[in-house]
């Protein structure tokens, strides 16, 4: 898994590439915590190059979403979900818990 984070005026963006499984999910959690530890809670995750996500990755997403939405201070939104990844998120009921955007530009511009 490769993570490319960017900090913008109104939000942070992380582009995720590769596999998000038990082996790599801790890195994703760390990258997200780095952002929230800076007091920033508006986060876009670019899934366009994600090949696989397991429940270990889903766990990181839900924990971060809870943290970000607390006190209405922000939220995590997801962009450019590949079909298989969308199916996994949908099975787990995550499509109700996260705003999903067709492209990263719209997601970044939503903040």
């Amino acid at each position: 898994m490769k993570l490319s984070p960017n900090t913008y005026k109104h939000c942070d963006l992380i582009k995720i590439e590769g596999r998000v499984d038990s082996s790599t999910a801790p890195q994703l959690a760390e990258a997200l915590n780095t952002i929230t530890d800076n007091g920033r809670y508006r986060i876009v995750l670019d899934f366009s190059k994600v090949e696989f996500i397991s429940s270990a990755g889903l766990r990181v997403l839900i924990n971060t979403q809870k943290n970000c939405k607390r006190y209405n201070r922000g939220e995590v939104v997801l962009a450019e979900l590949p079909k298989n990844i969308y199916a996994a998120l949908d099975l787990a009921g995550f499509t109700m818990l996260f705003k999903i955007f067709d492209n990263v530009i719209e997601a970044v511009a939503s903040f």
């Binding site: 596999r19 082996s23 696989f52 099975l91 787990a92 009921g93 818990l97």
Partner: protein, 138 residues
Amino acid sequence: MPSIVIPGQYESLAQVAAFIRTACQEADLDDFAAYQVETAVDEACTNIIDYAYGGEGHGSIRCSYHISPDDLTITLEDNGMPFNPKGVKQPDIHAPLGEREARGLGLFIIQQWMDDVRFEFLGGQNILTMVKHLTKAG
């Protein structure tokens, strides 16, 4: 019956995934069905490492597959603590964010995405058998 043995460590999950993708290709599964099988196997291996072995580095996992005209059957064997899934409760996937549990999705995904799932304890081994039907296109 093609098989691999991996050490019970998370970094081996990518290797199992590659092995499973080969199996799915041989079985001629479509892209999404293959993704479902890959996910189920990843979840099952993670659970074996986490619960049967109580963490990384305590044992190995054998993964093998068999293709019949109707099914792709994946078998996972470990030497960890016996597991009976009966007591495990289902996640509430409709819960609002505040009440939503972060854990408990692995078994659920396995059960939803595989057509038949059987946990056995035989000869001191956990044997998990997961079946995906090969529904021919059309």
